[in-house]
């Protein structure tokens, strides 16, 4: 029992040290990125004939509340040439009807190359207005299925996938496409930076003022997102070991996606699975390739404001991770896949998938060892405090990295954010562990995409 307790504590200290190392690498990557964000001459890309056209794919399932505003805001992005492909994945509300009415959609007979598998397409529409909008209406098949249909219907060699409820910044598209232009050969995918929208002021489909949300649940997610998108992903990207290009905002070379077999159908971690398969197919083909993260390509998303949708979201994410672990277990510790197989994927497996199991075991075993006096109380409490303090320091470091982007600087926001970085370790963290554990006993059909109730993007913070 004593040994097990020490192993668990050691595991957590190792996990936090890994996080700290990633933070150092992320910091280096972000310094460079902040400079190019300011002086990167993205306007040159807008004029340059070498900027490739891109298809922006938006899967939608029961998004009637905000779909029109969402599509409208995406028609005014700064980019030389792009098309918008909205995929209505068998919505049971009036998502399609609202699109038809707002954008004067006309049914067209558009031939599609069946490069990727997906459910039956009922109809394809083009806008009668002067905007490059295609709407694919199909039977319900899940998010990955909808994205595959969108990719098949898309015209251009690069695709950017995004959720319908995301709020774009004017230059989000050009910034996420920049790595392809900068290094057109080897880059096959680029992940964007997703920030919580709750509490922000939104006007005309744009975030006009960033502010912190009110509830603890939302605040905790702000810190979590910063830890993930600023403290971890830039570091993995720096090492070319990025394992997750978010399906909520990610850019892909279409040819590479088709080569990897597209998004998986009926999958809860379709973005993680595709990123893994991209690594796999590129490495198996012996290609020189890069999957990178673009921190200054920012979109904003509404995060769950109450516990029930957050629970569903976290269970879905962890269940998706479990599916990916099962499907890609052959890559674990496999030198054939280089850095991905020997370092990145094992670290992801241990510190994302196994960690909740060990953390839960720790919370159960440690009191027992203390009661049975198998281990000195001072040692247990000391190691616990070490793990806890490193976790807080990691969160603080992520907040420090965000300083470059100048958000949440008012005295009240600053104080609330710092307190959240400490207090999230007492309650919210344990609750998330519990949800992730529950996901291991999840039954199929309980949770699917589009579960979160939307207020519609125009309403946030108004």
């Amino acid at each position: 029992m004593r040994t097990l307790s020490l192993i668990i504590l050691g595991f957590f200290i190792a996990m936090e040290i890994q996080t700290a190392l990633l933070l150092i690498l992320s910091s280096r990557a972000l310094v460079r990125d902040a400079r190019t964000a300011k002086y990167g001459r993205v306007e040159d890309m807008l004029r340059s004939p070498s900027t490739p056209p891109v298809s922006l794919i938006v899967p939608a399932y029961n998004e009637a509340a905000g779909i029109v505003e969402s599509v409208r805001s995406r028609t005014i992005l700064s980019y030389p040439r792009y098309e918008l492909v909205v995929v209505n994945d068998g919505s049971t509300d009036d998502t399609l009807e609202r699109l038809i009415e707002a954008f004067q959609l006309r049914r067209v007979d558009l031939p599609i190359r069946p490069e990727l598998e997906h459910a039956n397409i009922r109809a394809i529409y083009k806008s009668g207005l002067a905007i490059p909008l295609t709407v694919v209406d199909k039977d319900n098949g899940g998010k990955g299925d909808a994205l595959n249909a969108g990719i098949n219907a898309s015209a251009f060699p690069y695709v950017v996938v995004t959720d319908a409820d995301m709020i774009f910044e004017e230059d989000s598209l050009i910034r996420i496409m920049r790595p392809f232009v900068q290094d057109r050969g080897p880059t096959v995918a680029v992940g964007g930076n997703i920030r919580p929208l709750n509490g922000c002021q939104v006007s005309m489909g744009r975030v006009t003022e960033s502010a912190l949300p009110k509830s603890v649940i939302e605040l905790t997610q702000v810190v979590e997102y910063q830890r993930s998108f600023l403290g971890s992903r830039p570091g993995w990207s720096f090492l070319n070991g990025l394992l997750l290009v978010s399906g909520a905002f990610g850019a892909f070379k279409k040819e590479a996606v088709i080569q990897a077999g597209g998004f998986p159908q009926h999958h809860l971690g379709e973005d993680l699975d595709l990123t893994m398969r991209l690594h796999r197919s590129q490495r198996e083909a012996g290609n020189d390739y890069r999957i990178v993260y673009a921190p200054n390509a920012v979109v904003w998303t509404e995060v769950p404001a109450t516990a029930p949708p957050l629970r569903k979201q976290r269970i879905r994410w962890h269940r998706g991770l479990r599916q990916v672990v099962e499907e890609h277990r052959k890559m674990l510790f496999n030198p054939r896949y280089g850095f991905i197989g020997t370092v990145a994927w094992p670290a992801f497996f241990l510190f994302e998938f196994v960690a909740p199991i060990l953390e839960a075991a720790g919370w159960i075993i440690m009191p027992i060892t203390l009661i049975r006096s198998d281990i000195e109380p001072a040692l247990v409490i000391g190691l616990l405090l070490v793990a806890l303090l490193i976790a807080i320091l990691n969160s603080l470091a992520s907040l420090y990295l965000d300083e470059r982007y100048g958000h949440f600087n008012s005295p009240i926001d600053a104080a609330r954010l710092l307190l959240t970085a400490v207090l999230e370790n007492f309650g919210p963290r344990q609750r998330t562990v519990w949800w992730r554990l529950r996901s291991l006993f999840w039954r199929r059909g309980d949770i699917d995409w589009g579960d979160m109730e939307r207020t519609g993007v125009g309403n946030i913070g108004d």
Binding site: Y39, R41, A155, V181, A397, Y400, N409, A415
Partner: protein
């Protein structure tokens, strides 16, 4: 105290110190931003008065020369005005020794952000006396500084600096080289002889071609001077696909049959990106000779080639008829590309009554299928 206790204590102190520092940092930033915004408003209002009423600046303004917020305001303001108003601002910057200060910062500042601010300011002000400083900055360790320096030189536009930018371009990675190429385009016609010679010499001496040759070819196309014809035709025959893509795009100028025939010869290039650029470039030649080639390109497996071929047919005299003929093509993708192009022409009236009737029929069919849908 035990070693573990010491570790905990150190981490605890580190946490408290980090929290306090981060809080103070946010607080300082908050108030500095507010102060800078306030000063910025005062600067804008004063500069506005100086420029609009040709006012003599008061002596107080000398004290502003040290404030980075004033530098930013002056540069922002500079980009908003033109002619006489810009001259007044240059005089003001000179009087406050700001241009000299930017020269010094560019050469000596250790912080990249300071050098960047200086070079960005010099690029906007574009004073001829900054030329040697900007040429020197083409060797700066920061790529962003080098890009701004090249941009500044191109805005000043002295032909002698073309070669300096060209030499610097050869040292750069792809992204920076493309930005240097943007700068070379801004030099315009005076850059054409140097760029053409570079393409002819390096294109014939090296196989594969130097990695930045395609950027130079792109420049020549964007400048659009016929003196570049021979160089671009050489590039179109290159072995490197990227070079041929750029050359095909660059030859989209009506420079005569020699160019037209070279392009038609490349519409069956093995690389689809070359075929797509050729299809697009042919529109600018507006020659009926290219119609059968473009109709054939409508059956190309690559969407982009079909799309560009259809667009070019829509622009070439006699091409519309060819698009109507293709509506019944056995290749569905060719027919679809033709239909999409004809529909995209919208309500543009055709001069030819027979053609107008065919358009009317096309729209009527589309409406009917809409209703059926």
């Amino acid at each position: 105290m035990s070693p573990l206790g010491r570790v905990v204590l150190v981490l605890l102190i580190l946490t408290v110190v980090s929290m306090t520092m981060l809080f103070l940092l946010k607080l300082i930033r908050h108030y500095r931003e507010r102060q800078a915004a306030f000063r910025g408003a005062v600067y804008i209002s004063t500069l506005g008065e100086i420029v609009s009423r040709s006012m003599e600046p008061s002596s107080d303004i000398d004290a502003w020369a040290d404030d980075p917020a004033f530098h930013d305001t002056l540069i922002d303001f500079f980009t908003l005005v033109a002619g006489e108003e810009q001259r007044i601002l240059i005089e003001l910057a000179d009087r406050l020794h700001m241009i000299d200060r930017f020269h010094t910062d560019l050469a000596n500042a250790r912080r990249i952000s300071t050098r960047l601010r200086a070079v960005a300011a010099l690029a906007v002000i574009a004073s001829p006396k900054s030329r040697p400083h900007l040429v020197g900055a083409l060797r700066d360790s920061s790529p962003e500084v080098r890009i701004e320096a090249a941009a500044g030189l191109s805005i000043i536009g002295h032909p002698d600096d073309v070669e300096a930018v060209m030499i610097a371009l050869e040292r750069e990675d792809r992204w920076v080289a493309e930005r240097f190429a943007d700068a070379l385009v801004r030099f315009g016609e005076p850059a054409v002889p140097t760029l053409s010679n570079y393409v002819l010499i390096s294109g014939s001496l090296f196989d594969p071609a130097p990695r930045h040759l395609s950027a130079v070819v792109r420049c020549l196309g964007q400048i659009g001077d016929p003196r570049a014809e021979t160089a671009l035709l050489t590039a179109l025959d290159g072995t490197d696909a990227q070079l041929r893509i750029r050359a095909a795009a660059a030859l989209g100028h009506p420079w005569g049959d020699r160019v037209l025939n070279a392009l038609l010869g490349k519409i069956t290039d093995p690389d689809w990106r070359v075929r797509a650029q050729v299809a697009s470039a042919l529109a600018h030649h507006n020659s009926p000779t290219s119609i059968p080639y473009l109709v054939e390109a409508l059956t190309d497996p690559a969407w982009w080639v079909r799309q560009n071929a259809a667009t070019s047919l829509g622009a070439i005299h006699g091409g519309i008829e060819a698009l109507f003929e293709t509506l019944n093509h056995q290749d569905r993708f060719a027919a679809d590309a033709a239909r999409a192009q004809l529909m995209a022409r919208g309500a543009r009236p055709a001069d030819d009554p027979e053609l107008a009737a065919r358009f009317a029929l096309l729209y009527e069919n589309a409406d009917r299928s809409d209703e059926a849908g």
